[in-house]
């Protein structure tokens, strides 16, 4: 075991992690621990844009953006946080541009902007051009630009290091983390005063997902096992336009540029569900509309469970200039030519609105009274600020990670300057060693891949776009069985070098934890709101459920639920129509 000491650590090198690292490395000794090389992070897969009310192509205001974010989130958004994010959005975008991000431009050389789902002018009157973009690879350009800035600042990266445990002292103060070096199998203890978790999402618990294989909820699970609750885990976004069967994302920008969604009869059905903004309705509504069409027999494909995204009527130059990547995905993976024919699509598990609860400085907070955990931070998809509430608007994830990555980094630097290094617990790597040795020590047992597949198939069938008491209860019992089998998992690779077999098994444990929290929170929430739709409770219930869920893990592995109020502001919850 090697021990390292830093002022601050960032776990995860996607957009939020690197944005925090840029902020930290200017003032305190910082290291970034990442299980992937930074440019492999899934921020790079984001396509359509990042919103800010720059008003470059038409009138716009941060206040309109805040309203859309809050309404889009079905009023589970903490309103002061959303207002802060949309105000700071403007400088955050200019900052990215000054760092070299190659945004598409207007004829007069300013950052170009386009339409996106749920983003409107004058509180829902009409779609507005708010999304700043770089073709359909905006996330790629954000990730590259942030990495370039890290290179410029000589940020210290520990690449292909997996975070396996959070260390806290007796008072609960953050003391560091334990990490596993993939190249050697060695354990490393990193001591630090501030630790920022920025590990991304956990979409890999579902069969159809836009998420990378790496998105296994490592950060949320690691802190959950150390007493931190997880907030609003039932709020998961199912993006309506995943490539059929595969789940690979086809950006909402396709609809922003004029693409439409069709059923098997060629009907543009969103005209019935959202008469004002039609195909540009928020993602949860479009996904549910697709489900409704399928249920009523108007789905296409061999199993009748597809809809179709049609961009064939768009100007080929628009497709070439603004949507090149997604066009290529359809060509390569489904052998469909989007300039000539509609592309088969299916809702795909896309984004976790819930996660590690934080305040607007990225500080992790526990319980209804939001007690700060000294030195512990989270930012990006693994965090829940909450700016996305029950349904995130397109583009707001990239905005979230630059705004709150920066804020978390700033406060983590402040804390690292003020605080003392917390003492390490005795044998800090003991728990991890025991966990790994248990898996490595078994010569026979269950297969991790089989367990993962059953998890993914069942979550897709029982906890996806449409949920019910019956289905979620069944899912909980499935999870109980999978958990038992997980405790008997054996692997074939026992080597020390690049043991991805071992790490995939550890990641499966994280997915099971996140699924436990998601299903437990979803079963309790007997209403429908945003991405959480209960067919047995189809209406939103503000009287009882205008509150955030907090899921805790008990020592025996069971879940305890608690709640905290939504931070309200100027916007009174109203019926969500578009």
């Amino acid at each position: 075991m090697t021990t390292h000491t830093y002022d601050a650590l960032v776990v995860g090198a996607g957009g939020a992690g690197m944005r925090a690292a840029i902020e930290l490395s200017d003032t305190v000794k910082t290291a970034v621990i990442s299980k992937l090389y930074p440019t492999r992070s899934h921020t790079g897969a984001a396509q359509g844009g990042v919103c800010a009310a720059l008003g470059n192509t038409e009138e716009d205001h941060p206040e309109w953006h805040a309203f859309d974010t809050i309404k889009g989130g079905d009023y589970l958004v903490d309103q002061p946080a959303a207002m802060l994010m949309t105000e700071e959005a403007i400088q955050a975008i200019y900052q990215l541009e000054r760092w070299g991000l190659p945004f598409n431009r207007t004829p007069d050389g300013r950052i170009d902007q386009r339409r996106f789902g749920g983003h409107t002018a004058e509180h829902g009157e009409r779609p507005v051009r708010r999304a700043c973009y770089a073709a359909d690879r905006t996330g790629h350009m954000i990730l590259q630009t942030l990495y370039q800035q890290c290179v410029k600042r000589n940020v210290r990266f520990f690449n292909e290091f997996y975070c396996l445990d959070l260390l806290r002292d007796e008072d609960g103060t953050t003391a560091g983390i334990v990490a596993y070096e993939l190249a050697t199998g060695e354990l490393h203890v990193f001591r630090a005063k501030s630790v920022v978790f920025a590990t991304g999402g956990y979409g890999r618990m579902f069969r159809v997902t836009s998420n990378a294989h790496a998105l296994t909820g490592d950060g949320p699970a690691v802190v959950w096992r150390r007493g931190i609750p997880l907030e609003d885990m039932e709020m998961f976004q199912f993006h309506p336009t995943g490539l059929a069967r595969l789940g690979v994302l086809l950006s909402e920008a396709a609809r922003g540029e004029g693409g439409i969604v069709l059923n098997k009869d060629g009907e543009r059905f969103m005209e019935r569900y959202a008469p004002t903004i039609k195909d540009l309705a928020p993602r949860d509504m479009v996904s549910r509309a697709i489900y409704q069409e399928i249920k009523e027999g108007r789905g296409g494909g061999p199993n009748g469970d597809w809809a179709f995204l049609d961009i064939s009527h768009l100007d080929p130059r628009v497709i070439e200039e603004k949507l090149p990547d997604i066009t290529e995905f359809a060509r390569i993976y489904l052998k469909v030519e989007p300039t000539k024919e509609p592309v088969p699509i299916q809702p795909t598990a896309h984004y976790a609105m819930g996660g590690i609860p934080t305040d607007t400085d990225g500080r992790v907070v526990i319980g209804p009274d939001e007690a700060v955990v000294p030195g512990l931070y989270a930012a990006g998809e693994c965090a829940c600020v909450s700016v996305h509430g029950a349904n995130r608007l397109g583009t707001n994830s990239l905005l979230d990670l630059v705004v709150f990555g920066r804020r978390a980094g700033q406060d983590a630097a402040r804390h690292a300057n003020d605080a003392e290094l917390a003492p390490l617990p005795e044998a800090p790597d003991a728990r991890v060693l025991e966990q790994l040795n248990r898996i490595l020590g078994r010569t026979s047992g269950d297969n991790a891949a089989d367990i993962r597949k059953e998890l993914q198939d069942n979550m897709f069938d029982l906890a996806f776009v449409v949920r019910s008491e019956e289905g979620l209860a069944k899912m909980q019992s499935v999870l109980g069985g999978l958990r038992e089998r997980y405790d008997r998992v054996a692997i074939t690779d026992k080597s020390a070098l690049y043991n991805t077999d071992l790490m995939e098994t550890v990641e499966l444990g994280y997915l099971l934890d996140c699924a436990d929290a998601l299903v437990g929170s979803a079963r309790a929430r007997t209403e429908s709101r945003g991405g959480h739709y209960r067919e047995d409770h189809p209406l939103r219930d503000d009287a009882n459920w205008l509150k955030h869920s907090l899921a805790y893990r008990n020592d025996d592995g069971s879940i305890r639920l608690d709640y905290k109020p939504v931070k309200m502001g100027p916007y009174i919850p109203m019926e969500r129509k578009y």
Partner: protein
């Protein structure tokens, strides 16, 4: 153009590959594990897969159900993260952008060349990233920061569009015979990333980068074999970008 309804029906045919186990694929992989042997060896598996199955998922099928020790990098599985560059049937490609039907019924997979192999298909990426870092791959502009965005015309933006697509997968650099033969060459990917800034109208350090690339390890090592352009999974005209940097150095025009 077909009507929407006709096109929808067309999309329903079996090209969209829904029949499981529709083809047999023999997968031959060059293995290496220094804990087992100092020499590499070959393993071969025969698997059933869908014609439209991505090769990376075929490798997963082997890893998850036949041999858990098979090691390779992957993440996004749709050609964006750049983790799974491999030498597939003699050509550098991303395993997630190659479909079974494109390579079947036999496929040979080896690690990309020119970088030290660490285990199976995993190579040491650090030398590659060191070359990338050497070309100052970040915007340099000391003329003071504007309150808003810097202006850039759509034409100026278009000038360097192609080279912004790079995902640092190393397909180009590790397909280059000059890079294999001489560890001193910075390689195509580093030049692509220098190009991205040299031709960005907002950047002021083009001369510094060109000085670095005019050194003996730099751009004039390129012998214009076009392997890099053929290998790029993002469709970047890599050789063209290298030629543009050469010309800029020779004529100081950029």
């Amino acid at each position: 153009m077909a009507t929407a309804a006709e096109a929808l029906n067309a999309s329903d045919d079996q090209r969209v590959g829904t029949k499981p186990g529709a083809m047999t694929l023999a997968v031959r992989v060059r293995r290496f594990n220094p804990e087992v042997s100092q020499d590499s060896w070959w393993d071969e598996w025969t698997v059933q897969c869908e014609p439209l199955e991505r090769l990376v998922e075929v490798l997963h099928q082997i890893k998850w159900h036949h041999d858990g020790t098979l090691s390779f990098r992957r993440s996004c599985a749709h050609g964006i993260c750049g983790s799974d560059a491999m030498l597939i049937n003699g050509r550098n490609q991303l395993a997630c952008k190659v479909l079974a039907e494109d390579v079947g019924p036999k496929v040979t997979i080896e690690p990309i060349r020119g970088l030290p192999v660490l285990k199976d298909l995993i190579v040491d990426m650090d030398p590659f990233m060191d070359e990338y870092r050497a070309v100052l791959p970040f915007l340099i502009n000391d003329s003071g920061e504007p309150d808003k965005e810097r202006r850039q015309s759509p034409e100026d933006r278009h000038r360097y569009d192609d080279t912004t697509k790079c995902i640092l997968c190393a397909c180009c650099t590790t397909s280059c015979p000059v890079f294999w033969g001489d560890g001193g060459y910075v390689g195509p990917a580093a030049i692509v990333n220098a190009h991205r800034f040299i031709f960005d109208s907002r950047d002021e350090a083009g001369r510094e980068r060109m000085k670095i690339l005019s050194e003996k390890t730099g751009v004039f090592r390129c012998r214009t074999t076009f392997n890099c352009t053929d290998a790029c999974p993002r469709g970047i005209q890599v050789t063209k970008a290298i030629q543009e940097v050469k010309r800029a150095i020779l004529f100081e025009r950029f």
